[in-house]
């Protein structure tokens, strides 16, 4: 018994109180993509930043459980669904900042100002340059038609990127049409769903299927290693057809200030800096993502894919419908 008490007491020992200006970040964006950004800020302003990485789910549980005792000042995470969920659980507080509003387009931030998109991740069509002509491609929705029977490869529906895409379809196309399209996709699968976007691109390259949906930075990274990859990228839904998504489906990585931060001013200053051109350049291009601000210069690899029209509906709409999207995908048997 004494042993357990000892262990418990040790677990409870008060952590050293952080210096007044030190910021603490909980992040599901991994160290390699985030640390250079933190280091730059520390160098410029002298504000030290310490951080812990983990998956979104545990980070949210942790923030909730810690309540007012949390050491975290900011939460940086990926995907609209996670950001929406964080806001719903009340762990993020609204920030009214002219700088953030000016730097970040309205559809990429919370209508109630609790989270702000910092980089764009476009989920688009990739196709085999050997077996598909770009003229055959048009929209996400068209991949559900019989022309693509046994030619489609997709990642698992357990990945949040697919959940957000289907969530956005629910918001824009309604439940019936969305279910019909997603059912069509699943019927066209050439292989069981894959564990990663990389595998989808590799399957297309290896000739197992002809088209798939992936986030562009996976494709960009692979292109960097194999410039002669027989897979190309296509921007769908550019014509603005009725009853279709209004452009390329985009998602964000983003951040918010925690409800119980003790360093609100310093945290807001950091968040504003993250939306500045300088930070955006680092934040987005480190991973071949797109900056949220259209002013920022792109990495040559991403720039080569040309401009595209984004779906302009607010991402909160996708987050709100993520759980419904998952149920829909369960119903149509998308594993």
């Amino acid at each position: 018994m004494r042993r357990i008490l000892c262990v418990l007491l040790l677990a409870l020992s008060p952590a050293a109180a952080p210096a007044a200006t030190e910021l603490t970040v909980y992040t599901s964006r991994i160290e390699d993509l985030i640390k250079p950004v933190f280091d730059r800020y520390t160098r410029e302003t002298g504000t030290p930043i310490r951080f812990i990485t983990d998956k979104e789910g545990p980070l949210l549980q942790r923030l909730q459980a810690e309540g007012a005792s949390t050491p975290a000042d900011l939460l940086i995470t990926v995907d609209a669904g996670n950001l929406w969920q964080a806001a719903r659980l009340g762990v993020l507080q609204p920030v009214d900042s002219a700088t953030l509003k000016a730097n970040i387009p309205a559809h990429l931030r919370d209508p109630d100002n609790r989270w702000f998109g910092l980089s764009i991740r476009a989920r688009t069509i990739v196709y085999s340059s050997a077996r598909v002509k770009p003229a055959e491609l048009s929209t996400y929705e068209a991949l559900s038609t019989p022309a693509w029977n046994k030619r489609v490869c997709m990642r698992t529906s357990k990945k949040v990127y697919n959940q957000s895409l289907v969530g956005m379809m629910l918001a824009e196309l309604g439940a019936d049409r969305t279910e019909q399209i997603v059912r069509g996709w699943v019927g066209n699968f050439a292989a069981a769903p894959f564990a990663s976007d990389n595998e989808v691109i590799e399957a297309i390259a290896a000739g197992r299927c002809d088209v798939g949906l992936v986030n562009t930075y996976y494709y960009g990274r692979m292109l960097r290693q194999k410039p002669d990859l027989p897979v190309k990228l296509f921007w769908p839904n550019q014509a603005g057809a009725k009853n279709h998504l209004g452009g390329v489906h985009v998602n964000v990585s983003g951040a918010g200030i925690t409800t119980h931060t003790k360093n609100r001013d310093a945290a807001v200053k950091f968040l504003e800096w993250l939306s500045s051109s300088e930070a955006q350049h680092l934040f987005a291009n480190l991973d071949l993502e797109f900056p949220v601000s259209p002013e920022v210069k792109l990495d040559p690899i991403t720039a080569a894919w040309g401009p595209f029209k984004q779906d302009g509906i607010n991402l909160a709409e996708a987050g709100k419908r993520q759980a419904d999207a998952v149920r829909l995908m369960d119903r149509v048997g998308w594993r």
Binding site: A11, I30, E66, S69, A192, P193, R221, V326
Partner: protein
């Protein structure tokens, strides 16, 4: 130490495990009927049969493979036996999620080996991303649990027993089947139970194959359907499965309670030419598939990303080593106390406490971490509110070790119990008469006899902690990144090739205890041999 204290100690050691268990059970008061009708219509009918089938295939696979290899190495002589006796333990250092990714990355349609075979020989490999594929990987990753425990149960006494059986006119096969295996039954079932629980808790390997099990459904309910309650309820279903396994195991152990004394090892029986060839080929194949091939692939990936070999990887390696050692020492201590409690004060209380303390192994790590962390953090938030204190549950090392203990006590418990069961109770009486009681008896009489079991327990815990990901992620203090954390970081953004380096480092650091264990086991049996 008075007899009545043992039940108290056992109960105290089981308390931390009760926290997540109570969290799982109490979630049933918050059933979401709508969500459950979805789960029971579209999710459970698929994942439950898959989970049970996976459990059966992997359990059968690891018990047959692990036992067969242990019998070969412990009781028979064939070319390469000495090397295989330790080489067969090496796959223990390869995390299942790493092995799974390597298998998919090489043998799936667009994998390197599959592509090479298709383009140069026209050979089309069977589809791998299914139940059969993930079963194969889990068997390859988990058989060492059975092999290790059975091997140490046969070491020293097995060959002697076999000799006695032979002298009674049994053929070698009969002697193994009718004498050696029944003697090792507790070890076989103990090891298999560990592998079965690990299979239930596995999330990494099944994700790489995109095979949906109960564990994946738990994560789906939590991360995608945003219902931690539904996740905990599904964990309750998973615990029910574990209880079935535990009841099965206790039946077997009750039926097979045997105690033999350690003594001089007898000569191993040489195998004939064909038998020796087969034994050698089988062992080679297992080591090649489960260890050498994945090591080569990891080596190739690492070589492409050598720039990642920096101070950070070294620091992470050091953290892994340190955490593994501390955890191994403390958890083996807990297992020893539990084992001792059931020896000195057998009864319902101790049995229930032991069962509870070993349940944590079947819980998916992330859920266990949350089940432990959230109630504790909430408690502290309350205390702070009450007293105006500023306490923080900032993932202290102690909390991390507590979580490891909840998860891995089962791992240490199995070999310790197997060791204790082979010490005759009459020896306790003799020691008592000689004036050795309580902890003195443990130290002077039992510990020397238990050494192989304790070494096995420590090595298993060490390697498991090295490979552990979700608990480490959630409870590590600032700056305590381990090699597994590095793998998480790289793989969460799909950079598997770069994860090759930390994965290789895990395997290499994980080899340290395995090699240490092998030397320990061998020297242990030599000492016993010369003492006689």
């Amino acid at each position: 130490m008075a007899l009545t204290r043992w039940p108290l100690i056992a109960v105290a050691l089981a308390l931390p495990t009760l926290v997540p268990l109570v969290a799982a059970l109490s979630s049933f008061t918050r059933l979401d009927a709508d969500l459950w009708s979805h789960l029971s219509e579209y999710v459970l009918p698929h994942v439950l049969p898959t989970t049970v089938l996976l459990l059966i295939i992997v359990s059968a696979g690891v018990s047959i493979l692990g036992t067969a290899l242990a019998v070969l190495v412990a009781l028979f002589e064939f070319p390469g036996r000495r090397v295989f006796s330790w080489a067969l333990l090496l796959p223990m250092a390869v995390p299942a999620y790493v092995l799974a990714t390597v298998f998919v990355g090489t043998l799936d349609y667009s994998g390197s080996v599959a592509t090479f075979l298709r383009e140069h020989t026209g050979l089309l490999l069977p589809d791998l991303r299914n139940l059969a594929g993930v079963s194969l990987v889990l068997i390859a990753a988990l058989y060492p649990y059975v092999y290790l425990v059975v091997r140490s149960s046969l070491a020293g006494q097995g060959a002697r027993v076999l000799e006695a059986a032979r002298s009674l006119g049994l053929s070698p096969a009969q002697a193994v089947l009718r004498v050696a295996l029944p003697l090792s039954a507790p070890a076989i079932f103990g090891g298999t139970l560990l592998a079965a629980m690990e299979t239930l808790a596995d999330f990494g390997a099944v994700s790489a194959f995109n095979v949906d099990t109960l564990a994946s459904a738990i994560y789906k309910a939590w991360f995608a359907l945003f219902s931690i309650d539904a996740a905990l309820q599904l964990a309750g279903v998973l615990l029910a499965l574990v209880l079935v396994l535990l009841v099965l195991q206790s039946r077997v152990q009750r039926a097979r309670r045997v105690a033999t004394s350690a003594g001089p090892p007898a000569q191993r029986r040489p195998l004939g030419a064909i038998g020796a060839g087969l034994a050698c080929a089988t062992c080679s194949l297992v080591v090649a598939l489960a260890f050498i091939a994945p090591l080569i692939q990891l080596g190739i990936w690492s070589a492409r990303n050598l720039r990642d070999l920096d101070a950070r990887v070294l620091a992470a390696g050091l953290n892994s080593l340190l955490l593994g050692s501390i955890a191994a020492a403390s958890i083996v201590g807990i297992a020893l106390l539990l084992g001792y409690a059931s020896r000195r004060a057998p009864g319902r209380v101790v049995t229930a406490a032991t069962r509870t303390a070993t349940l944590g192994y079947a819980l998916p790590g992330a859920l266990l971490a949350v089940g432990l962390y959230v109630p504790l953090a909430a408690l502290i938030a309350h205390i702070n509110q009450w007293l105006g204190w500023g306490l923080m549950l900032q993932g202290g090392l102690a909390l991390m070790l507590l979580a490891y203990a909840v998860r891995f006590t089962a791992v240490a418990h199995a070999p310790v119990i197997a060791g204790l069961s082979r010490i005759r109770p009459s020896l306790d009486e003799a020691a008592r008469l000689a004036g050795h009681t309580g902890l003195g008896q443990l130290a002077r009489v039992h510990l020397p006899l238990l050494r192989p079991g304790l070494a096995a327990a420590a090595a298993l815990v060490f390697v498991d902690v090295m490979k552990e990901m979700p608990i480490t992620l959630m409870t590590r203090p600032f700056g305590w990144d381990t090699l597994a954390v590095r793998i998480f970081e790289l793989t969460s953004e799909g950079q598997w090739q770069r994860a090759g380096l930390p994965a290789l480092a895990i395997v290499i650091v994980g080899l340290v205890p395995v090699v240490w264990l092998v030397r320990h086991l061998d020297s242990g049996s030599r000492e016993r041999g010369s003492a006689a």
